[in-house]
């Protein structure tokens, strides 16, 4: 497998309560390279939902600072995407 390596990239899950949270995520997505996993795009975020997105390594500190400064509740689903992608080939089947 060649191409992008995803070293140090993270996947976040943000717990969205209200329109204010949605607006904050719109602002975040407008200034950072964010790959939405669920929902498919920032425009589909609804109140009382969770949002999963991937952030490239160089943007992680900015994104984490933003989430904490704005008191958005979140967790890190995947702390290093490269590790998860390597682990996907874990089959022992021949």
């Amino acid at each position: 497998h060649s191409g992008e390596h995803f070293e140090g990239e993270k996947v976040f899950r943000v717990f969205v309560e209200d329109e204010n949270h949605i607006n904050l995520l719109h602002a975040l997505a407008s200034t950072n390279q964010i790959d939405f996993w669920k929902p498919d795009s920032v425009t589909q975020i609804k109140p009382h939902s969770t949002v999963d997105f991937r952030v490239e390594a160089e943007d992680i500190s900015t994104v984490e600072d933003f989430l904490e400064q704005n008191e958005l509740q979140y967790e890190v689903l995947i702390s290093n995407l490269r590790s998860i992608l390597e682990a996907q080939f874990d089959s022992q089947v021949r």
């Binding site: 060649s2 790959d35 669920k38 425009t43 998860i84 682990a87 996907q88």
Partner: protein
Amino acid sequence: ATGHSYEKYNNWETIEAWTQQVASENPDLISRSAIGTTFEGRTMYLLKVGKPGPNKPAIFMDCGFHAREWISPAFCQWFVREAVRTYGREIHMTEFLEKLDFYVLPVVNIDGYVYTWTKNRMWRKTRSTHDGTTCIGTDPNRNFDAGWCKLGASRNPCDETYCGPAAESEKETKALANFIRNNLSSIKAYLTIHSYSQMMLYPYSYDYKLTEDNVELNALAKATVKELATLHGTKYTYGPGATTIYPAAGGSDDWAYDQGIKYSFTFELRDKGRYGFALPESKIRPTCEETMLAIKHIANYVLEHP
């Protein structure tokens, strides 16, 4: 096919060779045809699985709409394997294949799938280009003529949910839609396999309105996810797409339903976030096994409701 494994992720060349091999090794059950070519010129192979017979009803199932959802093509291959492996040995599959045909499209977005193996594992869209933009790719599940680009889709070619310059602008979606249009009289169910988030969705996604079959589809989905959970306890949510997940126009399930295919469902396979699009190969077997229960439940229902 050299190197092919049902419990590993296979690249496109391996899957393509497998379609040829599985068809040639099971000529009494499987026939292979080409329904079109992709933007980059790859052949889109469709497997027809079932004992030959006149006027058989059919279930159409596709996998690999979104390139990075690797578990989806893995399931289509698993389904074909289970069909040929258990025909004549297991009463339900035997009955299905004698009374039904399954049309299986193992990978819809082949170019995108190849790209995830060679350049960018996280690629989602097709690989087409269009005039007026340097951005590449259209979301194939926003490209069908079902409230096309009205809601939950983007007109910006650089976005992941770009609906394309027109409905069915993509060669892949056009080929799929043409096949279904040409076989509407026999196709009784449409199933499209995605990942992740463990959901079973039915129309509509392009509107908050409910279909006239909502009660029946809801009951069938409820029973199907209950059956799926019997094997490993995997919990699926279910419901109409717009309210259960989010509104999104241009989806293939909505389009198929509006063509008259009542039993039209989208499956979002495992998991719920731990692995996302990188589900480990060791999870292929349990995921496919439980999904088989769901597909067989629907097939049985279709047979009982002609």
